[in-house]
């Protein structure tokens, strides 16, 4: 506690730095992954290659990537731009799959109906497909929000400042409390941002709220994982054709993560 009272201005600064690294990466991941996921779902024969591609990206450990990215794109080694690029790579790697599943959860018949009432492909995307894919997409964004916040800390070992600096500094100076402070603050930041994502989802997709409440109010019971899975399971209402893939998505949601 004494350590915290002496160092809290620095802790606050690291907290804000951590936030400033996480948010752009989450936003960039979303902006890149949604079109990629959409084309993986709709492009002929694209699903396999795109998903294998992002799977391989995901398999690359982050620490080496902090060293490879600067060499590849010429950003300085210890810089926030390197950090944001690395985080975005992982965000995209996870979110493209979610996005492809999200668009797959939209029944083909609905898209045909949208075309039949005169939607162009463009307006059908914005006004029909994206809103219907929204809940599954939201679950994916929640996953990358939490993992991004956690991942930022790894940069500390090569000297990129963040709450992870509390780990390296605490380890070098043998201050256990400093390390614990870092862990607590990172988890808190992850929970905070996750909450904001959920809130944004409610505001942008007001219809999902009614749907959840109408289903026995189990939503709050099992916390994050359960709720994410529930969103995916909204497909219970979907036509039979869409069901198998939704079952798979639900498994993936609850599965190893």
């Amino acid at each position: 506690m004494k350590w915290l009272s002496q160092n809290y201005p620095q802790v606050v600064e690291l907290f804000l730095t951590h936030l400033a690294l996480s948010v752009p990466a989450i936003v960039a991941s979303f902006l890149i992954a949604v079109p990629l996921g959409w084309s993986a779902q709709h492009g002929r024969g694209l699903r396999g290659p795109v998903l294998v591609g992002v799977g391989l990206l995901y398999a690359i450990p982050s620490l080496p990537l902090f060293i490879i990215v600067p060499v590849l794109i010429g950003t300085p080694l210890r810089s926030s731009s390197t950090m944001i690029v690395v985080l975005t790579v992982y965000g995209v790697a996870v979110l493209v799959r979610s996005a492809a599943d999200a668009f797959a959860s939209v029944p083909a018949a609905t898209l045909d109906a949208a075309a039949a009432v005169g939607h162009t492909r463009w307006s059908s995307f914005w006004r029909v497909e994206l809103p219907l894919a929204g809940p599954v997409l939201l679950a994916g964004v929640r996953v990358i929000t939490v993992s991004t916040v956690s991942l930022v800390s790894v940069g500390a070992v090569i000297g990129i400042q963040s709450l992870g600096t509390l780990f390296t500094d605490g380890f070098q100076r043998g201050i256990r409390f400093e390390v614990v402070t870092g862990i607590v603050l990172i988890v808190a930041l992850a929970v905070l941002l996750d909450g904001l994502v959920v809130l944004a989802g409610r505001l942008l997709m007001p219809w999902t709220r009614g749907g959840r409440a109408g289903r026995g109010g189990r939503a709050g019971r099992v916390g994050r994982g359960g709720r994410g899975a529930r969103v995916v399971r909204r497909g219970d209402d979907a036509p039979v054709l869409a069901e198998p893939r939704l079952a798979g998505a639900a498994q993936a949601e609850e599965g190893p993560r």
Binding site: V52, Y58, P61, I68, V71, L151, A190, V222, Q251, P256
Partner: protein
């Protein structure tokens, strides 16, 4: 780009591979530590996950643990355990086991839970005991998701073992940190590429394994879990 050529030259130089501190030793260390960790984690997590999946008890705890673990930064856990246990292998092994358990637990649990209740009832109806149901029905059908859990756990552990060199002098991370300290960027990049190659090779092997254990009969129409729904890659969090 020149740095890539330098890194390649470093990798192609035989003398960098041999000897006590050579890349070969570090690679073997890396594999041994990762294997040890995944082994310990599997011994803890798989029976527990199967039990939860079979009985349906403790489901909430498993889901909660898996999602909470996502938010805990591995580097923090690693340094915390290292501060408690001192420099050496114990710190990283404990931290990495904690990292690997949720993926394996969730994979085993989700795999067993995904088995069609009708199938289990049928097994019970033909007179199988609970142990037989677990061994002969649930485990084979759960295998793809179980191996999926193993796959993401292995991936995370191999990646994070690099970080383990921060508190213990083992594995490929040691070359990486040595390069970082001495500003030998070719060594750093070379070791980074080695870790990436190792991760990709293991990912490929486990993907193949996952494909092999997927029961073909489930591809039949009308089944609740057709082959195409098996996640090739679980959307696990990346913590290292």
């Amino acid at each position: 780009m020149n740095l890539f050529a330098d890194a390649w030259r470093w990798l192609a130089t035989g003398s960098n591979w041999t000897g006590d501190g050579g890349a070969a030793t570090r690679l073997v260390e890396h594999l041994l530590v990762s294997g040890l960790v995944v082994g310990i984690a599997a011994i803890i997590a798989v029976p527990l996950g199967v039990l939860v999946g079979h009985t349906g008890r403790g489901r909430t705890v498993v889901v909660l643990a898996a999602s909470t673990a996502r938010a805990v930064p591995t580097l923090g856990l690693l340094t915390l355990v290292a501060l408690a246990t001192g420099i050496g292998l114990t710190g990283p092994v404990v931290a990495l086991v904690v990292l690997a358990v949720p993926s394996l637990l969730a994979g085993a649990y989700a795999g067993v839970e995904s088995v069609d209740r009708v199938t289990i009832d049928a097994a019970r109806a033909v007179g199988m005991t609970e142990a037989q149901i677990v061994r002969r029905v649930e485990l084979p059908l759960a295998a793809p998701l179980l191996v999926g859990g193993l796959r993401s756990a292995t991936l995370q552990v191999v990646a994070t073992s690099t970080l383990a060199a921060y508190t213990a002098d083992v594995g490929l991370g040691r070359l990486l940190f040595a390069g970082l300290k001495a500003r030998e960027y070719d060594v750093m990049l070379a070791s980074a590429l080695l870790v990436v190659a190792l991760a990709l090779v293991l990912e490929g092997v486990l993907a193949l394994l996952q494909h092999l254990v997927t029961p073909r009969t489930t591809a039949r129409a009308g089944n609740a879990h057709p082959i195409s729904t098996v996640p090739e890659q679980s959307p696990t969090e990346r913590t290292s």
